[in-house]
């Protein structure tokens, strides 16, 4: 009986997890597109070429409005990062890191005069933000605040697939939907369109209005590795890059996990054998 009970308990438990999970997804928006990522699964790794392409998309397009303030230039040369090279275990020595940092200007204080100055960034500096503060960001974006992108891929329920879906999810609004000024209809952006919809309440279109105009289009970025820069490719690459930015230790985590679980399986086997040996003469 107890065995049956425990099976039942496990089943109920699993059901709870299964039902409770999707409950948190955003209402109204379409479920994110199914994307295959190289970093999925227990042995998943970032595709370095993809991260480099994604970084280029961020740098040339997204960074005009979106900050990446938790990421330092040196991080670009860390293990698993877009510009990692085994020749430069210290990412501050990495020539790509140095070259990228040099192109950015960082506000600083002149140590001699105390004046506010601008100097080229070094590997230790973080990506500078495009706006001085939140008010400035909102003023330049019709009142909307472009979110910081450092953790964006983890701060959305569906992860990088959500970013990919939103960037590729702009559609001509269906007839009967009144799009407000400064808004753009997007099937994957969470929202409730009931008040803007003149049709029947049973058929409110999915999605919401996003202040960001479609940011990417075919051929917007020229990829250095010759990959064709379609909208789909750009969106996928920048989403992968943002996943790296949000979880730079992902590869290290998965690799460590494999070793840890293998060790624990062996340990469990040994302990089970010990248990059987110790208890061999005892009924229970």
């Amino acid at each position: 009986m107890l065995r049956k009970l425990s099976v039942l308990a496990a089943a109920v438990g699993l059901l709870t997890v299964g039902v409770a999970g999707p409950a948190l997804a955003n209402g109204g928006a379409k479920e994110a597109k199914d994307v295959h990522w190289s970093f999925e699964g227990p042995f998943g790794k970032f595709d370095q070429a993809q991260l480099q392409r994604g970084f280029k998309v961020y740098r040339e397009v997204c960074s005009a409005c979106h900050s990446l303030k938790l990421v330092a230039f040196r991080n670009l040369g860390d293990k698993g990062a877009p510009f990692y090279n085994e020749k430069y275990p210290n990412s501050n020595d990495n020539p790509w890191v140095k070259a990228i940092a040099k192109d950015y200007e960082i506000g600083d204080i002149d140590s001699e005069t105390g004046d506010a100055i601008k100097r080229p960034a070094t590997g230790a500096d973080h990506f500078p933000s495009p706006f001085a503060n939140e008010a400035a960001a909102r003023a330049s974006n019709g009142g909307a605040l472009p979110p910081d992108m450092s953790l964006l891929a983890k701060a959305r329920e569906e992860g990088p697939a959500h970013i990919y879906s939103v960037v590729t999810g702009y559609k001509t609004p269906p007839a009967g939907l009144k799009v407000p000024t400064g808004g753009h209809y997007n099937e994957y952006f969470p929202g409730d369109l009931t008040s803007a919809w003149s049709g029947s309440h049973e058929h409110v279109p999915p999605g919401g209005f996003i202040a960001m105009a479609p940011p990417l289009k075919d051929g917007l970025v020229t990829f250095d590795d010759g990959t064709k820069s379609t909208l789909d490719q750009e969106a996928k690459d920048v989403s992968a890059f943002l996943m790296w930015a949000a979880e730079p230790k992902l590869e290290e985590r998965k690799q460590t996990g494999f070793a840890v679980i293998l060790y624990l399986l062996l340990l469990s086997g040994l302990l089970f054998a010990s248990y059987k040996t110790v208890w061999r003469n005892e009924s229970h």
Binding site: L24, N75, K154, L271
Partner: protein, 428 residues
């Protein structure tokens, strides 16, 4: 401690120490020679697993504090500093965050085991009460710990929970202001939660010592619920229980590692990766999974104050359990009717958990509208949670007191060894 000590100091130093501080004797009597019922099953390994959880939370927590900044300005960035710049910081933080969930998985199994086998009945009432105190402290600790990363869910969760005290008549507002250290959840709130989050685990450790002490006075319960009567009923803790607990801990660690390394954020909320912003409220404010059943009970009651009282009442039932259950038979193994009510209790608790995660007015069966009752459609999670909450309270307040008086129980074995040995004889 039960029975007299059989510890024999072997070396000169041990004899010297034993005459001055018999700490080795205490350890020997508690964890080596301590007699354990020979028929304990795997549900009894969760005590050991829980000690492991507490130790893991303490160690990872102390390391996290070395790198964390307890201020509304710096908390969020310092957690990300841990994730990105501290050596193995990601591992320590993911262990601590998922460790809380593991701790609750283990404690719920441990409590349900006690409930099923009647481990709260005389003479184990104090043992059970101490366990309830630990559980209460765990809930307070987990809640305050979740506030510390200062993400959106941290902040707004803290607002919702602290506001509950505002429902209390007369003193409510003063208590809330006092908890906040101001007129809103802000830097002082974060600082006091941090201080208490560091203090409470050591209080838990203290009550755990009392819990183990009480356990060693009354001895362990066992699946038959029959007290050990002779030497044939028991085995020494080491090696018999140690090796079995060790195996169970190792298997539990596999589950733990699976979450830490492969789905570290599955049990958390994506919103908590957005820094707290008092001006933007997340669309769904949901507590961590281990609070969901109580959250559902809170929302099931239309009146705020009554809801708060119901929620605390649900926990109070656990404290009163030893005096609510009137059955003379300890283990539900010999209580066929109680067993069925127990399964329904399990189901009701899980349903409450699901309801806690949903919007109260969302339909349980999609696209079905029935009729309105007390301001909500009957086909809604709020109504489902009302039914489940009623069962939750009925189980403690009606089923257990009444059933104990009227139930026909199965014959209970004379001793632990007799059914165990006869089962063995069957096999042989």
């Amino acid at each position: 401690m039960s029975g007299h000590s059989t510890y024999q100091p072997k070396t000169g130093f041990e004899r010297w120490l034993d005459a001055r501080l018999p700490i080795v004797r205490l350890g020997y009597d508690s964890f080596v020679d301590y007699p354990t019922p020979r028929n304990l099953n795997y549900w009894w390994t969760f005590g050991g697993i829980l000690s492991l959880c507490l130790a893991s939370q303490l160690i990872t927590g102390i390391i996290l504090v070395m790198h964390y900044t307890p201020s509304a300005q710096g908390a969020f960035a310092s957690v990300e500093h841990i994730m990105r710049d501290v050596n193995y910081g990601w591992l320590i933080r993911y262990m601590h965050a998922n460790g809380a969930s593991m701790f609750f998985i283990a404690v719920y199994i441990h409590m349900l085991r006690g409930l099923y086998y009647g481990s709260y009945k005389a003479p184990r009432e104090v043992l059970w009460l101490l366990g309830c105190v630990i559980y209460l402290l765990m809930m307070a600790t987990a809640f305050m710990g979740y506030v510390l990363p200062w993400g959106q869910m941290s902040f707004h969760g803290a607002v919702v929970i602290t506001n509950l005290f505002g429902a209390l008549p007369l003193v409510g507002e003063s208590i809330t202001t006092w908890l906040w250290g101001g007129f809103a959840v802000d830097n002082p709130t974060l600082n006091r939660f941090f201080s208490l989050h560091y203090l409470l685990p050591f209080m838990i450790a203290g009550v755990v010592i009392l819990h183990i002490w009480a356990l060693h006075v009354v001895g362990q319960n066992n699946p038959t619920g029959v007290e050990p009567k002779s030497k044939a009923d028991v085995l020494p803790f080491t090696p018999y229980a140690t090796v079995k607990d060790g195996f169970a801990m190792s298997v539990f660690l596999i589950l733990f590692a699976f979450f830490v390394f492969y789905m570290p954020n599955a049990l958390g909320h994506a919103d908590n990766y957005i820094e707290a912003n008092p001006l933007v409220t997340p669309s769904h404010i949901v507590p961590e999974w281990y609070f969901l059943p109580f959250y559902a009970i809170l929302r099931a009651v239309p009146d705020k104050l009554m809801g708060v009282l119901a929620m605390f009442g649900a926990i109070a039932c656990l404290f009163a359990l030893p005096w609510l259950d009137t059955s003379k038979v300890r283990s539900m193994r010999y209580r066929p009717t109680a067993k069925i009510y127990f399964v329904f209790f399990l189901v009701a608790s899980c349903i409450l958990g699901v309801c806690g995660a949903k919007l109260p007015d969302d339909p349980v069966i999609p696209h079905l509208t029935t009729f309105q009752l007390m301001g909500s459609d009957l086909n809604s999670f709020v109504w489902l949670s009302r039914i489940a909450a009623l069962y939750y309270f009925a189980f403690f307040l009606i089923v257990l007191p009444v059933l104990g008086l009227v139930e026909k129980t199965l014959p209970v074995p004379d001793s632990i060894a007799s059914p165990a040995l006869s089962a063995d004889a069957h096999k042989g």
